[in-house]
């Protein structure tokens, strides 16, 4: 990799890494204690219950 690409690569990851870390941590912290998949059609949920 050329020096310019190496620097661009590093700068990109120095920006991206904290963003990735933050979004993952936020998602885990705010994860519902009992996750419910509300994308499932109600009928299927009722049927399973």
């Amino acid at each position: 990799m050329k020096r310019a690409h190496r620097k661009m690569h590093l700068v990109l990851w120095l920006l991206l890494a904290p963003a990735v870390f933050a979004i993952v941590m936020l998602a885990v912290m705010y994860r519902p204690a009992d996750p419910v998949n509300d994308l499932l059609p109600d009928l299927l949920i009722e049927e399973a219950s």
Partner: protein, 348 residues
Amino acid sequence: MSHDYKAVQWTPFKKRFDLWMLGGIAGYLVVFVAVSLASPPAGEAFTPIQILMRATGTLAFLMLTFILCIGPLARLTDRFKPFLYNRRHLGVATFIIALIHAALVLLWYHGFSDVNPLVSLFVSNPRYDSLAGFPFESLGFVALLIMFLMAATSHDFYNANLGPGLWKALHMGVYIAYGLLVAHIALGAIQFEKNPLYVTALCAGSLSVAGLHVFTGLASLRPANRAVLEGWLKVADIAEMQDSRAKIVRPVSGEAIAVFLDGDQVSAVSNICRHQGGPLGEGKIVDGCITCPWHGFQYRMEDGQSPPPFTEKIATYETRIVDGTVYVNPQPNAPGTPQAPSPIGADA
């Protein structure tokens, strides 16, 4: 736009690799579907299409995570260098898996209304100001568009016509796609999947990719400042060098230099392959030629020229061995200039 380009040739290794890759993909999907059907989460029931959605989604994430780990891991250990040769095929396969995942989602969740499925994807959930209810599907869609751009230009035709510099810069977009993919999963599956494996895979995968890239990126910027001979750079002691392999030296200015040990002599060339800017110093000497770890482009040790009929040339450098230590002159010769190697045992 010129049509003059040289496609990377298929080799038995590439064919074997692709067979293993396809077998692995099929195996993962079969096992995922079988396990999901056999043991559904308590209180939930999934249709086969929904299970396939999860199988392709998780597989695409795991494959892209692995692909993005290959580069930095290959810098840390030789074990991952064979994967560099086939990263392109892995990337295209990942895009196809992600495309299947997206098609299933569009069909299942947005395909049964009067609204165009693509419009429905962006407007059916307008909670863009919510963390838990964010319309995460839109993030995945944008990531898929970027991956399409990468997959569509993953051919030597585009590399030759865009130029290695622009091509490489364009393909760094995959990092943005990965960031969007992580957000897509974090705000999507992590919020409603009961299985803790989703959280574990996301945390381990994304943090590994980010950590490896930052670590190896910082390490690669360290300049070689151990000049002993005036204006020359110390490479390594001969005993530290591995036959047919290189040590990479990074001058304060200019491009990195790959210094190879070939039997009882030492030669130095530019570390940058003319094909796609691959790191030649991470390759090895095959049939007397320096071979790029990315796509197998070759250069002669003695003059940095590709063997006929190829015409690529890279810069050569003067080397010297003093008291068992290898040095290199960081001033490059013009690409393709013959440069006598330094024989071991004839210290200056």
